[in-house]
């Protein structure tokens, strides 16, 4: 996956995003874009504002300043529901599955924005409502097959091991058939094998479905291997943006990661 990969126009552009909580600044003048079909990594030390950036993209946080252009439409801010129904799905740093529900039901919630039948039809569970439910069940089964989690279909997710929960969470995001998939540390806390599995799924998703992926990850090896372009945040500011090779060679990135204090002023 070297230079031969071709990407389309930007699917998402953020411009000059400023976000603060009370007096604490989380993001300051951050701009970057994500191209259609690429794997875009967002990296940076702890507290750099990476998760806040994802939260801005899918509308959970509303920035005080800046604009977001998604699929050609420019907005001041996104709304969570709007982001979800227009094709942005995500996973979370600390697993945010619905603990009381089975794997199957969890993944089915990913189809929620696509289901149309109203309350009355569902209460009757006849004809159209039943057909709709089965159609979506069919799609979800494909996701389950893809992620190789058939055996835990009916298990309550609270009982699953950590790595499996991460996989179910990815499944829930995939079930929404996203155009832009936001992954917040999908490999955190995993062992090597689990990481390899997860990398494979991420690349397969990108490859087979053409889904654009933005991911936050701490494991540099993984980031350098699977991402096409990398944006680096530090203390809420963008300090580098480019291919993995470019970023790796950037002086400011090295300083940010090694904690070197600047003494040039």
């Amino acid at each position: 996956m070297e230079g031969d990969r071709k990407f389309g126009d930007p699917i998402l552009e953020v411009q000059d995003i400023n976000l603060s909580f009370g007096g604490v600044t989380a993001l300051e003048g951050v701009s970057f874009d994500i191209l259609n079909g690429e794997v875009r990594a967002i990296i940076g030390p702890n507290g750099a504002g990476k998760s806040s950036m994802l939260n801005v993209i899918n509308g959970f946080y509303h920035p005080q300043q800046g604009q977001i252009t998604y699929k050609g439409k420019t907005r001041r801010q996104m709304r969570p529901h709007h982001a979800a129904s227009s094709g942005i799905a995500r996973t979370f740093q600390n697993i945010a599955l619905f603990k009381g529900m089975s794997t199957l039901d969890n993944i089915m919630t990913g189809r929620n924005t696509k289901m149309r039948k109203n309350l009355l039809w569902q209460a009757l569970y006849l004809g159209p409502a039943k057909r709709e439910e089965l159609e979506h069940r069919d799609f979800v089964e494909h996701v389950i097959d893809f992620l190789e989690i058939q055996a835990i279909r009916k298990t309550p997710v609270g009982k699953l091991p950590y790595g499996m929960q991460k996989r179910v969470e990815l499944g829930r995001a995939l079930a929404a058939e996203p155009e832009l998939l936001l992954l917040d540390e999908p490999m955190a806390g995993m062992n090597l094998e689990e990481k390899e599995d997860m990398c494979r799924f991420v690349l397969d998703v990108n490859d087979q479905f053409g889904t654009t992926i933005a991911l936050i990850e701490h494991d540099m090896g993984v980031v350098m291997d699977i991402s096409d372009r990398v944006v680096v945040l530090d203390y809420g500011k963008k300090i580098a943006d480019g291919t993995p090779e470019e970023v790796r060679a950037d002086q400011r990135v090295i300083e940010a990661y090694l904690g070197v204090t600047r003494d040039d002023n």
């Binding site: 945010a96 603990k99 089915m108 919630t109 209460a123």
Partner: protein, 358 residues
């Protein structure tokens, strides 16, 4: 030995999604229904109807309602008594204002009115959560009961401060009023509640139920995957209040026949129904039935035992009953915080393996 699912292969998702995917379960449910419809009516006299079967069925309906809101959507409500009052008073006003209206329509309309009131009092749930919301629902409880007690229009200017249900027929059979046959009342409630339990079950296993549970388990994540909290919470309040309102309607119309707002719809009712769903199992339709059975039957058994068996004074027995109810609730919470529904599941698991547990 008899409870095995081996050999029952499902070849499409439709049969996997069925209500009772295992054949033995289907037979069991049919058997229970058969007994309830064809055997029990022969034994139902006034005492059995008014003290046991009607309370059980009607409280089960209310418990299903509250369970939809609290067990499935995670919004604790202490306003059940107040919402039952809305159902009851809607029924009273509708039947007295439109005597020709079919009683079933009256019940459904009462449910719908309660749903509207429920949505109104559910609006705070968008801003406040957990116990703050639970306490806020007490506002509904106290305000509604006060309203029905104070405004004479709701009581049809009755000088006694009571409302009483006029006799009404369905398909020519008397259902309400003092002269209605106990078996008619029983069968009517049974069929009505059976149907609505089924509808509730369908709801909770579909999209709506999943969005409720998502809100319950992690509301932020639910919002970020595109479930609108506003829609999910308010539908939960609406559907839940609809059920509770219908239960209030039957409670007043079929079971009690006459009611006084403060006595019949006090905060004790709210707690009683909450107990039912906790003891029965949060997030379980079956649990609502089991909880309702336990909470309605237990005091009767205890009273019979203490007053008739031990010859205790009625007042003392009442005090012991309250104490024992408290003790039993604590005991069940400690032994099985997930209620009878979970015990039932465990029993089924055991039965699947029996008699070879390994």
């Amino acid at each position: 030995m008899f409870y095995r699912e081996a050999g029952q292969f499902k070849t499409d998702y439709a049969s996997d999604q069925a209500l009772f995917p295992i054949a033995q379960d289907r037979w069991f449910v049919l058997a229970v229904l058969f007994v309830a419809v064809a055997v029990v009516p022969f034994f139902v006299d006034d005492y059995w109807a008014n003290a046991i079967t009607l309370p059980f069925l009607i409280y089960a309906l209310a418990a299903i309602g509250l369970n939809l809101l609290t067990g499935y959507c995670g919004q604790v409500s202490l306003g059940t008594g107040g919402f039952m009052a809305v159902g009851a008073f809607s029924t009273f006003k509708l039947t007295t204002a439109f005597p020709e209206l079919n009683f079933i329509v009256v019940i459904l309309l009462s449910g719908a009115i309660t749903a509207g009131v429920g949505v109104l009092f559910g609006i705070p749930s968008l801003r406040i959560k957990g116990f703050y919301l639970a306490v806020a629902t007490l506002a509904a409880q106290f305000f509604l009961v006060w309203l029905f007690n104070k405004v004479d229009w709701f009581l049809n200017y009755s000088p006694t401060g009571q409302i009483s249900m006029p006799p009404r027929e369905i398909f020519g059979i008397l259902i309400t009023g003092p002269r209605a046959a106990p078996e008619a009342k029983y069968l009517f409630c049974l069929i009505f509640i059976g149907i609505f339990a089924l509808l509730a079950k369908n709801l909770v296993r579909g999209r709506v139920g999943r969005s409720w549970m998502a809100i319950r388990d992690m509301d932020i994540a639910a919002e970020l995957i595109g479930i609108r909290p506003l829609e999910a919470k308010l539908t939960a309040f609406a559907v839940s209040s609809f059920y509770v309102g219908m239960a209030g309607s039957l409670y007043f119309g079929v079971w009690l026949g006459a009611a006084e707002p403060i006595e019949a719809f006090g905060i004790e009712q709210s707690f009683l129904v909450l107990f039912m769903i906790i003891v029965g199992g949060l997030g379980s339709i079956l649990g609502s039935f089991l909880g309702a059975a336990f909470i309605t039957l237990m005091p009767i058994l205890m009273k019979n035992f203490m007053v008739d068996g031990l010859q205790l004074a009625v007042v003392t027995a009442k005090h012991i009953e309250i104490t024992m109810l408290g003790v039993l609730i604590i005991f069940f919470l400690i032994v099985e915080p997930h209620g009878f529904a979970r015990l039932w599941q465990i029993a089924k698991e055991k039965l699947r393996l029996w008699p070879f547990p390994h």
